[in-house]
Structure formats: structure tokens, C-alpha cells
Amino acid sequence: MASRFDVRSQPGFGTVAMFTFVLLYLPIATLVAYAFNASESVTVWGGFSLRWFVEASQNAAVQDAAWRSFVIALSAATMATIAATMAAIATTRTAPYPGLSAKYAFINLPLMVPEIVTAVALLIVFSRVKVWTGYSGLGYLVVAHTAFCIPFAYLPIRARLEGMDASLERAAADLYATPWMAFRRVTLPLLRPGIIAGFMLAFVISLDDVVITEFVKSGGQDTLPTYMLGQIRRAVTPEVNAIATAFLALSILIVTAFFFINRKKS
């Protein structure tokens, strides 16, 4: 008789939710588990071993791809964050002016175009530029990554700016700070959490990219994801699992840091 009626509960919803969480984590857990498999196979468990991590880390192609991924992500995220910070300052806290909404749409455009479409479009243009200029270095990848990272870096910076009281900069100007000093001493310190969040987002997005990199890269310019893509098509050994696991750990680390930075802010 005393059973309470819970207005919030809906029958079966908890079960479905549990299924969802199992679904979200079972494949990742499998992948991670086999990374520690001692045997050659990704299906038969041969005992715990760090063998594949060692092999992956000694594989020159993996080292090379990892380093390239890092260099591209660092340069692209840095450039995207600087450009996005400037653009965010230019597009927030203003009365509408001619071109403002067009600018806004333009900056967010890379989010709306399917990656494969951007990828082949870049292939068309860059393949020609490569022939014209004879240059086929990492520059193309860095520019392409910067472009699609900009909207991701722009989002948190813009959000932070919009939540910022415009009278603070007015107060700085009132207290004899030139526009540059007001920016350095007031705007920038207050914007820092947004900029850090934007940079981290851009870094993760660049690090994760497969499709655009696959189409833009020249020969011998594999990043870690495109290297893995190549490996997955061939016979799979737990080495790929080891690489994926390390990659996963890095992503989780960054996302966790991001999560806590954001939480501290609010």
C-alpha cells in the first residue's frame, strides 16, 4: 500500500538508458581490452601483455604519423584560436552592422558542409596548386585544418565574450587605458577560459580528423588517424588497438580537462 508514486519515472526508460550506456562503452572496452592481448589476434585472448604498445611505439611509421598529427594539430589549433578570437571580438557586443550576419554564417559554414564534400573540394583546388607551385609540404594540411577548426574555437570564445560585461572595457577606457591596454589588461584575462576551451576543442578536432586529411595529404604525409585507416583495411593486429587506445587516452584526458575547466568557470 505504501508504494510511492514517482511522477518522474517512466516504465522501461531506465532499462533503455542502461542499454545505451552499455552500447556506448562495450565497443570501446573491447578495443582497449584487446590492445593488451598477448596473442597476434584480435579475437582470441592470449593473456595480458604490453607487447603491442611497445611494438607500436617502436614502429617508425607510427612515430612519424604521431609527430605529424601533433605538429598539424598544434599549428592549426593555434592559428584557428588566434583567428577565432579576433573574429569573436569583431562579431560580438555590437549593434548590427552591414555584413555582420553574413560574417557569422561564413564563419560557421565549415560546420554545415559534409566533410567529404569539403575534402574533395580541397582535393580539386590543392592538387592544382601543388602542380603550380611545386610545394607539397604540410602547409596544405595546416591551412585546411585551421579552416575547419575556426568555428569550433570560435564557439566558446564567442560565448564567453557575450557573457562579458561590456562596461568593464568602458571602465578601463574611462581609467585612461588605451584600446590596446584595455584589451591586454581587461579583455584578454577575462577571455582566457574561453580561449583555452576554444584551443582545446580545435586541437581535438584537428587531431581526430580523418576525411579531409586523407584527401589533402600528399604521399608520405600520414597522420595517426589516416595511418590507422590504412591499417584497418589490411589485416588487423592488436597494434592498431594499442595505437587507438593511446589515442583514446589522450582524447579522454583533454576532454576531462575541458570539462573541469568549464565547470570551474560556471
Binding site: D165, S167, L168, R170, A171, A172, A173, D174, L175, Y176, A177, T178, P179, M181, A182, R185, V186, P189, L190
Partner: protein
């Protein structure tokens, strides 16, 4: 009739000449300020008073340098400052929301202006210490500004704006976020600081009581125009027009006609036929049908006689005084305010026939 408290020949700190400010362009342009001219004297506590949207804050922001006039000029000690950006104007502002820098300590907030001016370190230390003392915040110097109360934030904002010793201090409704008791305290504090520093204060408020208690002179604004400039006494007792009379305090409006002049006063006849002497507002039309104002405390309800007669409609007890609302012929209501004596009612009840006795010199003819 000049304000009695300041000599006339004092220099002007701020002069606004024919200021027009329009937001937007063309036919849809909104005129926020319409040909405003004001002179603010040195060392004066000057208040811009008016309802929200009257243009007072726009005028203040223009003096600070955050808005540019569409037409007109702003002079600081006789020099046009229209082309100077805010950071080149020796004018500081206490912002409505205080705008304290949340990433800096109380001390750093107060030191900010001096640092931007490139003052030597020793001077900054000394000056900040003086300011902390002035606003009684010595103990909280190291606090972050998001860890102090509203009243404390208000005082830090004041110290920060005063630290660079500006020629003029602008205050944009600085007390509106405080509760009643704190507001009263800060009103006295502000007066004290203005007196101690000798800086010209330009204060913006919509609170008429605040304006009356604090100001040397007040400019009453409405819909982008300045309606009257004068001492609190001028504004209250000699309102220029219906808006000023209505906005500040309670007032009775009476229809009357001018019948003659004597010794600088006009004689007017009220609807009841009674004749009284009245002062004449600047720019008022001295003839024909006019509107006369009488403050409730300048009239008395009497059992017999009086300048007007009517019926008691309501009696409202206020503790210190009692308001008697009297319906007079012609359908208007006249309010009389009478001081209460102890353990004694005012002696009138609803429905009583009463007379209204208007004190000598209490009436003013408005400009229409």
C-alpha cells in the same frame, strides 16, 4: 533668483552646447537628446534627474566619451573635448553596475587608472592607500572584487574613479542597486567625499528624493530636453512646468486666470472666485488662463472660510502627517497635508464640507 549657495562668477567645469543625439538614421532615427545646453560649475554637486529614457544617461556617457553628439559641443574648462577618446579625458565614471574588474583585487582595481597614467610606483601605493582610507576599505584591499558585498563594491568603484583625481566625476545611478538603508548611508558618504575632494560631481538618478537631498543644482530632464535647472529649493518650490511639478513631490494643479501684477507677483483668480498672489515661472505667459500649483503642505483644511471649498473624500494617516483628499467643484481633487499632533485626529471625516486655506506665497504659475 540665483541659487544662494554658490557665487555666480564660478568657472564652468562642463558645458554642453546645443547637444543633439540621434540613434539610427533617416526617418526612423530616435532623438535621445534634443538641443540640450547645460553649464556645470566647478566643485558643484550637479544632478541630472528624470525618468528612464529621458536622455540623462546618454548625456553622461557623452561627457565620459562613450557617445558622440550628432550635433553640438562639449567643453571641459572651456575646451572642446568632442574629439578626445574616453582614455584621454580627465573625467572618471562610477558605473551603474560598478564594472569592477573581476580578475583583479580591490587594490588593483583602485590602482588601475594610476597605472595606466604611468604614475611612479610609490605614488600609486600612497594614493591607493589614501583612497582605501577615504572609502573605509583598508582591510579588504587584497580581496577579489567578486568576494565583496554590494555596498563595498560601490565604495571600491568610487575609490577607483577618484584615485586619478579627475577634474569631474560622473556617477551613473550608483546607488540604485543598494537597499534602502544602505542607500541613505551612501548618500551622506557621497556628499562627504564630494566635500572632502572638492571634485565636480555629475550625478544621474531617477530618484527625486535622492536628487533633492544631495545636489547643489539639479537639471530636470524629460524626453531628451532639459526642462529646468536650479537648486533643489528652486525645483521643488518653483517648478517651471507641469512635468517638473508632477515628477518632484506631490502637487495640486488648479486652473486660474491672471488678473493683475503687483511687486513681481501675479494676482490670479481661482475657480472659486478667491484671489491669491502667485510667483511666475520663468517663461510663463503672464495673462489669460493659467495653471497654478500648490504643494499639499502649503495648504490647510479649515472648518470655515478658506480660498476654496469642497468635500472630504478620503483621510489617509501617515504617522508623521495626515493627507486629506478634498473634492472641489469642477471635479478636481485637492490634497492637503497636515502634521499630526499626538493623540489627536485631524478632526475631519469623509463627507465633511471643508474649506482650503492656501498659505501666502505658496502658489506658482506654470509655463505651459
Amino acid at each position: 533668483m540665483a541659487a544662494p549657495d554658490r557665487p555666480q562668477d564660478k568657472r564652468n567645469a562642463i558645458e554642453a552646447k546645443g547637444i543633439v543625439k540621434e540613434f539610427g538614421q533617416g526617418a526612423s532615427a530616435l532623438r535621445a537628446l534634443d538641443n540640450v545646453s547645460i553649464s556645470i560649475r566647478e566643485n558643484e554637486f550637479f544632478t541630472l534627474l528624470g525618468p528612464s529614457g529621458c536622455g540623462k544617461t546618454t548625456l553622461l556617457r557623452m561627457i565620459a566619451g562613450f557617445e558622440y553628439p550628432t550635433e553640438g559641443a562639449i567643453l571641459l574648462h572651456g575646451e572642446d573635448i568632442a574629439s578626445l577618446p574616453p582614455f584621454r579625458r580627465p573625467i572618471n565614471t562610477v558605473f551603474q553596475s560598478y564594472a569592477l574588474f573581476p580578475h583583479l583585487s580591490v587594490w588593483d582595481n583602485i590602482a588601475f587608472g594610476l597605472q595606466m597614467l604611468g604614475r611612479p610606483r610609490a605614488e600609486i601605493d600612497a594614493r591607493v592607500a589614501t583612497m582605501l582610507k577615504l572609502v573605509r576599505m583598508e582591510e579588504l584591499a587584497k580581496r577579489r572584487t567578486d568576494q565583496i558585498s554590494g555596498g563595498q563594491a560601490q565604495r571600491v568603484a568610487l575609490a577607483r574613479a577618484l584615485a586619478p583625481s579627475p577634474k569631474v566625476l560622473l556617477l551613473d545611478e550608483p546607488l540604485s542597486a543598494l537597499d534602502y538603508k544602505l542607500r541613505k548611508e551612501m548618500q551622506i558618504e557621497l556628499k562627504r567625499m564630494q566635500h572632502e575632494t572638492g571634485i565636480t560631481f555629475v550625478f544621474v538618478t531617477h530618484d527625486q528624493e535622492e536628487a533633492l537631498t544631495m545636489s547643489d543644482r539639479i537639471a530636470v530632464m524629460s524626453k531628451g530636453r532639459v526642462l529646468q535647472v536650479g537648486s533643489p529649493w528652486d525645483i521643488y518650490d518653483k517648478p517651471a512646468d507641469r512635468f517638473v511639478a508632477d515628477f518632484i513631490g506631490e502637487t495640486n494643479f488648479l486652473a486660474a486666470s491672471v488678473i493683475g501684477f503687483s511687486e513681481g507677483l501675479v494676482r490670479v483668480r481661482l475657480s472659486s472666485g478667491a484671489e491669491i498672489a502667485a510667483t511666475l515661472a520663468e517663461g510663463a505667459r503672464p495673462g489669460g488662463d493659467v495653471t497654478v500649483v500648490v504643494r499639499p503642505e502649503h495648504a490647510r483644511a479649515v472648518k470655515e472660510g478658506g480660498h476654496l471649498s469642497g468635500t472630504v473624500e478620503n483621510v489617509v494617516y501617515f504617522g508623521t502627517d495626515t493627507h486629506i483628499h478634498i473634492r472641489i467643484p469642477g471635479g478636481e481633487t485637492f490634497t492637503v497635508r497636515q502634521q499630526n499632533a499626538r493623540a489627536q485626529s485631524c478632526g475631519f471625516a469623509i463627507g465633511d464640507a471643508v474649506g482650503i486655506d492656501i498659505a501666502a506665497d505658496a502658489a506658482q504659475v506654470l509655463r505651459d
